[in-house]
Symmetry: D2
Subunit: 180 residues, 4 copies
């Protein structure tokens, strides 16, 4: 078995444990009449940004916490927070604050019983290995398996949203940045 | 004279050469019914981002080229492009493309006769020293004097916009990110 | 078959077409005595950043083009450029310039015959669907399948590098940002 | 008096209150044998990034907290933290942690008696108006006057460092990104 095969097998294992009904639950929270804010740190944060970019492509009003033009978050908004351990301070603390302020939380974590996992109005558990040792064991470094599986999971959520909202590939293409 | 005094004197000299009527011209192009896109590279790019952030605070729909949630730019939008030399490829080429597509251009450069300067529907000349040697001579490194003067110039433009639009400091504060 | 299963199946198909010997070729170009620069746009760019972050964790001197502290690139450096179509202007043009300046190029693209694919001293072809229609067909939007497959491919490359260099998970953990 | 004149006058007033000996103190902490980390949020954060970029140009090993390739910070490193109020959570908390870990702190704030101000091994007070109402009063919005004055102050610090280290403008130019 090649190293590619070993890694792909790990991804398959984790994705087989992601529960479609949890993705459905998140889908219900994310609607076009709401502003969607995205929060993550490190490589999870990059995956969160990839999700934000695709939400923009399919017509959502979306902001990434920490980027230049992100306004204040308010009651009635949605916050999607990603943390493998569910304990990352720079993700957890703002999410707790937002929850208190009446923001709906979508939590994405390897550990549903973590502080972040418990905050979610919808929580998606992606049980890939994290750098703290949670989740399915992996030959890969740190939280690599979590990152890969979160990436695919959030893309599935995007695909569901685009189908629900009847957004075509051509419509998404028209919204894609044309300054690259 | 302290080093602080010398540097401040340079800034005063450049700011004394920025033409208020050019700022007024840019003010006319930037209106709340339009989407405003912001483009810059390097330290000029950071100043451009600072301008974008403040535009958001005072209620504009604004995007930074290259950030996560920036959609395609279209005819009817406004593009604010900043380049000291007016020749930076990663700024000039997208601006030329946008101009062709019917986007209104606000050019900010040390050299009004540069390719970027000539593209502007409104052009603000900020004649601070750049790394290519344009503008007022400086004891500071590279384009430092240009960056400082662009910073202040764009803040003056923001102040004019906020006054024209009757945006109070409290209203701006309410929009400021509350996740820091 | 659930939507998760359909998406995972697509990823498996593409990953089955990535050639291990192309990853090996890239591995030979990336060594610790060289500075590694990373370039990508949009969602591919986020995957490229994830690769850069992991290279840092395993001890490489690595820079992302466009980030704050990225110095000039010089002969003797390595540039890893990612573009699905292999034709993205903001990726292709700097890569061409770097190649001319004596920089070794690792190209990652869905199309080995694209301009970017032909520039590579090592080229890894990841034949996932892109927004221009290259590669394996997909039910997913735009270049999603390419992004997912590039993510995994670059992680495999990282894993190979860490094994070659004898970097343990604990060593990588010690280098991971502790300010999150 | 034009609006430009009014704004420049405000900057002059604040810069007249910045103490050269505080800049000298910071200069002593920042040396080429140390790794320099930079931290800030919002527009202050953009000014901090501008400082980081210039430190790179003059030959320092410098990292921005939150960017892709930033490693863990360790005892013996230097952290430059910027916050107008000196109370911004996302700046203050990591700075407190770093201080405990043996990192030398350069604090830049409008309020020397703030929690951040008290943490500094060197503290530079830049008494421009902030969004919380500290510092010299201003006609400008939020912390604009602080941002402008911090920008110039950090540029003066850079100029002092470049002179102490005998870095010429040409040497800085050679290090400047050539991929723009």
């Amino acid at each position: 078995m090649t190293l590619i095969d070993e890694v792909v097998k790990e991804v398959n294992t984790v994705m087989g444990m992601v529960k479609p009904e949890q993705i459905d639950q998140a889908e219900k929270v994310i609607t076009k009449d709401k502003r969607i804010f995205i929060l993550g740190a490190g490589r999870s944060g990059l995956m969160a940004k990839g999700f934000a970019m695709r939400l923009m492509h399919i017509g959502y009003t979306v902001f990434v916490i920490g980027e230049t033009i992100t306004p204040s978050i308010q009651s009635g908004d949605v916050l999607v927070s990603v943390s493998g351990s569910g304990k990352t301070g720079s993700v957890l603390e703002p999410t707790e604050k937002a929850k208190t302020d009446g923001v709906a939380i979508v939590a994405v974590t390897s550990n549903g019983d973590s502080p972040l996992g418990k905050l979610g109005d919808a929580t998606i558990v992606v049980p890939g290995a994290t750098k703290g040792g949670d989740g399915v064991k992996s030959i890969q470094l740190l939280s690599t398996l979590f990152d890969q599986s979160v990436h695919i999971t959030l893309d599935v959520l995007c695909l569901q949203l685009s189908r629900r909202d009847h957004v075509s590939n051509d419509a998404a293409k028209a919204t894609h940045s044309n300054m690259e």
